[in-house]
Amino acid sequence: MSTAPQASIDPQGLGRCLAALRPTLLRLAQLQLRNHAWAEDAVSETVLAVLQGAQRFNRTSQLKTWIVGILKHKVLDQLRQHMREPTAPAAADDDENELEHLLFKQDGHFRELPDEWTDPCAELQREQFFSVLEACLEYLPNKQGRVFLMREWLQLDSSAICRELGIAPTNLWVMLHRARLRLRECLQIRWFTPHAR
């Protein structure tokens, strides 16, 4: 039952690390949940779990990796709790056809040749690209944004997302398709178009 003192991490160091990480945790939770109160709850629960579980922290894994891993679980708890509420608004149809109209002619061919993109993650401009990417993610409608980040940040597969949210696969696929199309369009305008930067 006794724990070797040298196995746990120093509480002061952990406190400093949590304080330094807090803005990141909150930003990620907000991006995924799109609700400030839920995001605050997820982060508070994460901090609590980190402090309670500090002795279980395995030194071979990075501290941030461990903390963000806990955050992901807490964020998913929030999604479960709130997205399954019967008061959650039903999937609203948006201007999906408008987006496709911008891209394709009546006969289904591209109106314009898509641009040749260059790798946005080259070292020098990475931070700038990330902030544009996050702005475009925030720009997605709430439901699309949530399912998209469940895929790309929480890394859940389609069946897990359907199970967690209680939605049908076809419904999910439509939302993900719209989100991807929108994100591509947003990045094209705000990052890849040469005069955008």
Binding site: L21, K64, L103, P120, E152
Partner: protein, 70 residues
């Protein structure tokens, strides 16, 4: 089932491929169309680049140490 053969159909599949495994006939339809369609070749490269960028973003958020607070 309708054979996907327009750019609209093919981009639909290229995006769907990011989220689920496609049946063989759809994967084949992508390859056949892309062989001769420059626009969809570009769109596919964009899709792959976005996949890679999202992975780099995720790894950065999940693992990289934050900048020390000032």
């Amino acid at each position: 089932m309708k054979i996907p053969n327009t750019c609209r159909d093919v981009t639909h599949l290229l995006l769907a491929r990011e989220d689920r495994a496609l049946p063989v006939y759809q994967r084949l339809a992508i390859r056949v169309h892309i062989l001769t369609c420059r626009a969809c070749q570009r769109f596919e490269r964009q899709t792959l680049m976005l996949r890679g960028a999202l992975r780099v973003w995720r790894e950065h958020q999940d693992h990289d140490d934050p900048k020390p607070p000032r």
